[in-house]
């Protein structure tokens, strides 16, 4: 078994350990109400078990990084799969640090699923080791990308704590306008997370079944010299603009696309991307529907009781603290070192490339957050909403820019 195989195994083990740790966290929290036990002692004992399991997962995750690094000769942060995997690792690291400061088990209940989702999302992208192109062959790849991921991971923990603070403080019984609006938006937040899960589920389900459909697009439609082929790995609901179906596996008797992408929707693989989005929405909505049926109430309302033992101010402070720890790291990693590298590789430290602009937007966003925290009354719910929104900005910078806008940072494996 070579190192690359070891690395693949370690990845899976880390993933499973995180899942187990998450289950343990569930036991930690729900078990407090079980009969015949002292809630405090139960929480201490199971909190420790969960945390140790998380650390074991982290260890395996580090083995993945080390072995893949050793095999390929470069740090595994050079494409989308490697980066997202690394981000999930950093989320666990950031969680570990925050946990060691505050000792709040509940943060784990929310941080682990986030890391798990990010890790699963990573596996959607091509997992092969790709050789480094000359512009990536630099020591700054190691420093810039890892630090940027670390900063983002702390923002992620800030998001987690902010979300928990919202769950804790929003009045689910309230009927006034503000309470209703807050409930709605919180539910929308959870719905969006479920959509991401839906996306991952549909990709893996059809990947496992080996589904494939092929389209050819005419030269006029793509504005290229020759017609192009597009391969779908999800059953086509949306076909590329002015395309011919070449072959498609049958799915539930459906073998023809229902609609075609409108002509104004352009870009590389516009058809396949919109088809994927449609699938994510369908699967996500189905998942959400099932959850709603099982729980018989909004997800946020169902989750809220788990946070009863938690102090809202503590959550608010954890969120603020995580962001305050992450901000200098992010500045250094995603802006300063990025500028130094850009100066070295491209001769200019700043070029208004979409990724650069979005890193700046993230930075501006969190600086707004930090300035607002100075003012009276800007804490708790208001600050938490910003922390949640901030994470959306972070994720758009990391993923959205590559998928939608591209530019200089469009590494291989993002299509």
């Amino acid at each position: 078994m070579n190192l690359l195989e070891v690395s693949k195994q370690a990845f899976v083990i880390a993933f499973l350990l995180y899942c187990v740790a998450f289950c343990f966290y569930v036991v930690t929290i729900t078990g407090k109400t079980w009969k015949n036990r002292d809630p405090k002692q139960h929480e201490r004992k199971w909190g420790k078990i969960s945390f140790v399991t998380t650390l074991l997962g982290l260890l395996s995750h580090l083995v993945y990084v080390a072995t893949r690094w050793a095999w390929s000769g470069h740090i595994p942060v050079s494409n989308m799969y490697e980066f997202m995997t690394f981000l999930s690792l950093m989320i666990i690291v950031a969680f570990t640090i925050v946990y060691l400061i505050y000792r709040k088990e509940l943060v784990g209940l929310f941080a682990l699923p986030l890391a798990i989702v990010v890790m699963a999302y990573a596996a959607v992208f091509p997992r092969d080791v790709q050789p480094l192109i000359p512009s990536l062959r630099s020591i700054w790849l190691y420093i810039h990308v890892t630090l940027a991921a670390a900063g983002d991971a702390f923002f992620a923990v800030g998001f987690i704590a902010g979300l928990m603070c919202l769950l804790r403080t929003i009045d689910f019984k309230g009927t006034d306008k503000s309470a209703r609006r807050q409930k709605l938006w919180l539910e929308i937040t959870f719905y969006s997370i479920i959509i991401v899960v839906g996306f991952i589920v549909s990709v893996f389900a059809f990947r496992a079944s080996g589904y494939e459909a092929v389209f050819t697009q005419s030269a006029e439609a793509t504005e290229q010299s020759s017609g192009t082929k597009e391969v779908y790995n999800l059953p086509p609901i949306v076909a590329p603009y002015e395309s011919q179906l070449e072959s498609a596996d049958s799915f539930l008797g459906m073998s023809k696309p229902l609609v075609e992408v409108p002509s104004w929707f352009k870009g590389v693989n516009a058809g396949r991307k919109s088809n994927t989005i449609v699938w994510a929405l369908i699967t996500g909505t189905l998942l959400y529907g099932v959850l709603r049926l099982v729980l018989r109430k909004p997800l946020s309302e169902a989750l809220a009781p788990a946070l009863k033992g938690m102090d809202a101010d503590d959550l608010d402070e954890i969120s603020y603290r995580a962001i305050a720890i992450g901000f200098p790291v992010f500045t250094l990693g995603a802006l300063v070192f990025a500028m130094i590298w850009a100066q070295q590789a491209w001769g200019r430290f700043w070029g208004w490339d979409p990724k650069e602009v979005w890193a700046l937007i993230t930075w501006l966003f969190y600086s707004v957050y930090l300035h607002l925290r100075l003012s009276r009354g800007f804490h708790g719910r208001k600050a938490s909403w910003l922390a949640v929104l901030g994470f959306l900005v972070v994720m758009f910078t990391l993923v959205g820019v590559n998928l939608i806008i591209a530019g200089l940072h469009s590494y291989a494996g993002t299509d």
């Binding site: 512009s135 062959r137 208004w352």
Partner: protein, 558 residues
């Protein structure tokens, strides 16, 4: 309007003071004398410059920029502007296409509107630059407005504070003690010092303070940002910045316009990954991935006869560097970056042999350089005078030879040859160095028509070693950026400020004992959790057991 701004402790405060500079008693809240609301501890409640009575015009401008609220709005507008700037490709990303039509054809009506709104060049637009300048102004004024009064307030703190000042802090403890007040305060000094506090006592009162420097963090950040923004702004001045791209053919010394530098591309290398270096999965995709682009460069500086176009300049080698992506040449701020390359396989020179077609006698060879040929060559008994040179050979309507362009696509050389067996005034002979072009343009037929040499002589390539080929053309980005040191300094200062401000907290503990009751007030800039823990552990050391959470005074947070 004249307000009485004298505190009951006798201190005269400036207008706008929230908390008395001396004793900390809240000002202007007579009605709420006993309210338990938390104090506004920002900038320690000192008056800021912007809170001056009767502001004039300059004061008003100052007041506008000194507001954090305005700063936040400026940042938000910049943020939204930057977002809009990433919706479609910016004009600066493409050079050759006309933006007027580009947006319409590529993105349709929305694209056209985008272009018309000027969003296609957001980051160079007047409004975006104005926003950055305003943020700069805000940075300076906000900082000055606060840092000076805050510095004053922190450097002359009174130890004994007003009771209200203590009980309205966010961390508060009040409880009885069973010993002499002076002794208790005395006993409190050591444990606080152990926790890293600087402790000052005065009668029955104590002030413990640590990591005050972290208060300056935000201002240091702002100074760094100002240095950075100024450096970027001055970058646009002439002479400070150069950014050009030039081709450097292999083996040639190429002058760099507008400088006294010449750069020789000794060798250009491009390497690709071999299959052994790829993973199994990747190999199957059959992609070719470049591994290395490298230009072995030698930099020369002209030391004499530099500006005379006729004279040969005297060059001195000053620097040598293998330019790679991520590893530019840098000589005293003059930089060359690997940008692109081209495989041209172009002739640099050939050494044709002059042969007698009839006897087969070889007269010798001479070196013909494509770019810079000599005007005369002596080969054996023959003298070749270069009459004309065509870089891109073609025939015009009258069938006269012309050069279609300056590009060396089809070089041809027209010689006048004199010597034995030839007419007195010599015969004309045209020569194409590229063999396939001799065929294509019909060198023999052309020479037949030119006559003169009577089909007696011929230029021939004897061996492949007589051909010198330029394999690659390396495209380098030549840059001079005199402001970079300031950019890096600015960013360095920002980082120092960030670390100061975010990884340390300014913590203060006030204690006073009145009639056997100790009152503790604690303040920190952030991380209240740690503050409470520290206070509770201190109290525990003093024999007072309190729950960390019960120290929290609740109410408004900052």
């Amino acid at each position: 309007m004249i307000k009485n701004t004298k505190c009951e402790c006798g201190h005269q405060n400036p207008v706008g003071t929230v908390l008395c500079e001396a004793c900390g008693k809240p000002q202007f809240e007579e009605k709420m004398e006993n309210s338990g609301e938390l104090l506004e501890m920002r900038y320690d409640g000192v008056a800021r410059r912007s809170q001056r009575a009767n502001p004039n015009f300059i004061d008003k401008v100052w007041n506008f920029f000194s507001s954090v609220k305005v700063a936040v709005y400026l940042i938000i507008i910049t943020l939204v502007g930057a977002m809009l700037g990433t919706v479609f490709t910016q004009e600066t990303m493409f050079v050759t296409i006309n933006p007027e039509t580009y947006y319409k054809t590529k993105y349709g009506t929305i694209g056209h509107i985008y272009y018309k709104l000027g969003l296609s060049d957001t980051f160079n637009s007047w409004w975006f630059i104005l926003l950055l300048v305003m943020i700069g102004a805000s940075l300076v004024i906000c900082s000055l407005d606060r840092v000076l009064p805050l510095y004053r307030a922190l450097s002359k703190q009174k130890i004994r504070k007003h009771m209200q000042f203590l009980t309205r802090q966010r961390v508060v403890y009040q409880g009885p003690i069973h010993e002499n007040s002076a002794a208790w305060i005395e006993r409190a000094v050591t444990p606080l010092k152990k926790k890293g506090y600087r402790v000052h006592t005065e009668g029955g009162a104590l002030l413990a303070e640590k990591q005050r420097f972290s208060r300056w963090g935000p201002y240091v950040i702002h100074i760094g940002l100002i240095v950075f923004l100024l450096a970027v702004l001055f970058r646009g001045l002439p002479g400070l910045h150069m950014d050009e791209h030039y081709w450097f053919p292999e083996g040639e010394i190429t002058p760099i316009p507008d400088t006294h530098f010449y750069l020789k591309n000794e060798k250009f290398t491009v390497e690709y990954y071999t299959e052994d270096e790829m993973s199994e999965d990747f190999k199957d995709q059959g992609k070719v991935v470049p591994k290395l682009f490298e230009t072995k460069a030698v930099l020369y500086q002209c030391v004499a006869r530099c500006d005379d176009p006729l004279a040969e300049p005297e060059l001195k080698e000053v620097h040598r560097h293998n330019i790679q992506v991520n590893d530019p040449l840098n000589y005293k701020g003059f930089q060359a970056y690997q940008f692109s390359f081209e495989n041209i396989s172009e002739l640099r020179s050939v050494q044709p042999t002059l042969v007698d077609k009839e006897t087969g006698e070889v007269y010798g060879k001479f070196k013909l350089t494509m770019n810079d040929p000599d005007t005369e060559y002596q080969v054996g008994p023959y003298k070749l005078v270069l009459k004309d040179k065509y870089m891109d050979f073609g025939l015009d309507e009258q069938k006269r030879p012309i050069s279609k362009s300056g590009e060396p696509n089809a070089p041809a050389f027209l010689f006048t040859i004199t010597g034995p067996g030839l007419p007195e005034d010599g015969g004309q002979y045209i020569y194409f160095p590229y063999l396939q072009q001799q065929q294509y343009y019909g060198q023999d037929q052309l020479n037949q028509r030119l006559g003169g040499t009577n089909n007696k002589l011929e230029l021939d390539l004897a061996a492949m070693t007589d051909v010198d080929i330029i394999e690659y053309n390396s495209y380098l980005n030549i840059r001079v950026d005199r402001v970079m040191p300031f950019v890096w300094t600015g960013l360095g200062i920002v980082m120092i400020g960030l670390i100061m401000g975010f990884y340390w907290q300014h913590r203060r503990i006030w204690l006073r004992v009145d009639d056997g009751i100790v009152t503790l007030g604690g303040h920190t800039t952030k991380n209240w959790f740690g503050m409470r823990r520290e206070v509770s552990s201190f109290l525990q050391g003093m024999g007072i057991e309190v729950d960390e959470k019960s120290l929290d005074n609740g109410g408004n947070r900052s």
